[in-house]
Amino acid sequence: MSEAIERDVMEYDVVVVGAGPAGLACAIRLKQLDPERSVCLLEKGSYVGAHILAGAVIEPEPLDELLPGWRDNPPPICIPVEKDDFYYLTRNKQFRSPMAPPQMNNHGNYIVSLSAMCQWLAPQAEDLGVEIYPGFAAAETLFNEQGQVMGVRTGDMGIAKDGSSKSGYTPGVDIHAKATVFAEGCRGSLTKALIRHFELDKDVAPQTYGIGLKELWQLPEGRVQPGLVQHTLGWPLPADTYGGGFIYHLDQDRVALGFVIGLDYPDPNLFPFECFQQLKHHPLLHDFLEGGTIISSGTRTLVEGGWQSMPIMEMPGALMVGDCGGTLNVPKIKGTHTAMRSAMIAAEHLHENALNPVGYDSMLRSSAVSRELKKVRNIRPGFRWGLWGGLVNAGFETVTMGLSPWTLTNHADHTATKKLSEYHGSTTDYRDRDLAPKDRLASVYYAATEHDEDQPVHLHVLDPEVCISTCVEEYNNPCTRFCPANVYEMVEDQNYERHLQINSANCVHCKTCDIKDPYGIITWVTPEGGAGPNYQNL
């Protein structure tokens, strides 16, 4: 792009990037503390909630604090948890644990659709005067002459696949703010670059992630027990891979189900989408689902690194809240309450310090969020010893309440994949499937994802030559399996030469490729604003 593009500039006190629970909570708190303050909230999804996907069982305390009257006007899906069930699965059998792990006791918590909850929060933020702009992606961070973050630039609209301007070309605008709050969620594309730029993670362990696939089903009357929360461990995952399933019973004969897999899985041939579908065909679930219809589906990664992977959460001119900084509590498999809390702490810090982020990181680290994360810090990394070793370690860490003097470290997920020659444990005894969706393309249909085909590919592969020269030999092109939307395909051209084809229009913005590609050469950037999935009630 030439320098001559004239861009509109908009000035705000605070710009928040991302209208998830953290971004919305931060914006709401900022306005509650000072209604005169101008707050702009950018969201790349075509509406608030379009890109939000979570289980989700949430702890309601931060909502109580943020919006004290919320229980009189609850979000559209909000069911008190009645019962926790915990299963260990083998291929043909299930074993219900007599007790759920203490972190998974959900008494007092609610099953929500986080997408619907954000959709419900947005008008409440707007009533307070927050200016929310869905359909606008923050594509670039802006720096001032001193090198401080001074805002963000929204993505240009109307650029053709080859980079030329289409007739409706509309340059993005520059949004300048006294403080920029990044609330991009897991593996935010701007925060990823900023963490590197300001070396915010140089003294912490590498961040680790999980991939979470989810579907919403409408079932025949009488099967669903509203408020029942079921979790599974075991099959179809091998014991060397962290992960499990969830089945949350909603109201109106709806059930939310999903599968989470730690992205530090070693098997280069592991196929997360297939694992989830296999779970659905386990005797525990197959008959329960049969005859029902799938309503929507989607995938999103989640941060699992915990306390020891949390980068410095502030930088000159800006700060991070929620999962782009990694505030999720893995043993609880909950991140909404910590994300919202970190956002409210950020808002309070900015309010008390004339919008200067300096000191927020230490404020966060002395807060209940950090204490909660520190207490459970050794549980997730203990699963490096496999499922059973991990559970023993988790038991020990729970009983000692995280007081052990050591902190287990994390390893970057893309380095955890073993080469084909080193791994021989791939699960192959899969069941034949008959429940929808039959494949990933059918699943993408239920994510209602949409990208204008005539725009630059938003998945940058640094060197596609690696795919055919090295990766196919070493790892058998795992991108063709870990992507839940079939974005990456190895195809043959007329001359029978294989090359990588990127079906970027299928992308559901989960960021798995950016994390798990074994060579670390895939970079996810924002496509045109408003593109991507259109999740409903996920």
């Binding site: 908009m10 075509s46 379009a50 409706g168 509309t170 309503i295 929507s296 259109n534 009630n537």
Partner: protein, 248 residues
């Protein structure tokens, strides 16, 4: 010249809809709503006419619940000068909406009422024609090109056998087809400015329009699920199967 543009709030075209289990309609709870895509095209054309100096004012009109203000604000952000919301909470059929446009036209005296050729929710495709009849003006429907020459409009229509070019005297009703133009992207600063543009509210009784709907929806049901295909061994079997099912 003023241009009245109809703006209908419909389910977003990219959203997957679900028919309610009792067949009483489509579930719209927490579903994204947008401007009907054909109305967006109509608005874009009106804005281009104004930018080309053929029109002075573009007025966006919506008939529906208070939530239609969201779509009118989008229309204002795209560039409409002002908006009118005719508030009515129950769904209305084309004939009532056409009466509304005629009632507003009596006050505003537009040169063109520019409408989308159909709305993507009920696919009725009747409002433009009914408006023209009730207004007693010419109609140029399914426009893929509009040229204004003085008090006449030359309108190109894509029809089965090719292009049909007609000329109508203004004032007239024109309905926009898909290939008329590509609507612009809304700019962020314009969304802000749109909040301060005038949006007037009125209702059917103020306009003297009776609300009587003449149609009754009996049942809404999803299309039947497609039966899975099956592989045939060779051409002979294929032809045999096609014969058997009466397809050839």
């Amino acid at each position: 010249m003023k241009i009245l543009v109809g703006i209908k709030r419909t389910v977003d075209p990219n959203v997957r809809i679900q028919v309610k289990a009792d067949g009483s309609g489509v579930a719209l709870e927490s579903v994204k709503m947008s401007v009907n895509p054909f109305d967006e095209i109509a608005l874009e054309e009106a804005l281009r006419m104004r930018e080309a100096g053929k029109a002075e004012e573009v007025i966006a009109v919506s008939v529906g619940s208070g939530e239609c203000q969201d779509q009118l604000r989008t229309a204002l952000a795209m560039g409409a000068d002002r908006a009118i919301l005719v508030q009515h909470d129950e769904p209305l059929e084309a004939l009532v909406v056409a009466q509304v446009f005629v009632a507003i036209a009596a006050k505003e005296e537009p040169g063109i009422i520019l409408l989308g050729k159909q709305a993507i929710d009920d696919d009725a495709g009747q409002t433009a024609q009914m408006t023209a009849a009730l207004w007693n003006r010419a109609q140029a429907t399914y426009a893929s090109k509009i040229e204004i020459e003085g008090t006449k409009a030359r309108v190109t229509r894509e029809i089965d056998v090719g292009l049909d070019i007609i000329e109508v005297d203004l004032p007239a009703v024109i309905s926009a087809d898909l290939r008329l133009n590509e609507p612009r992207y809304v700019k962020l600063p314009d969304i802000m400015k749109a909040k301060r543009k005038p949006l007037a509210k009125t209702d059917l009784s103020e306009l003297g329009v009776a609300t009587e709907n003449k149609l009754k929806v009996l049942k809404t049901s999803p299309p039947p699920a497609r039966k899975p295909g099956r592989k045939v061994a060779d051409e002979a079997e294929l032809i045999g199967e096609l014969r058997k099912t009466g397809l050839i």
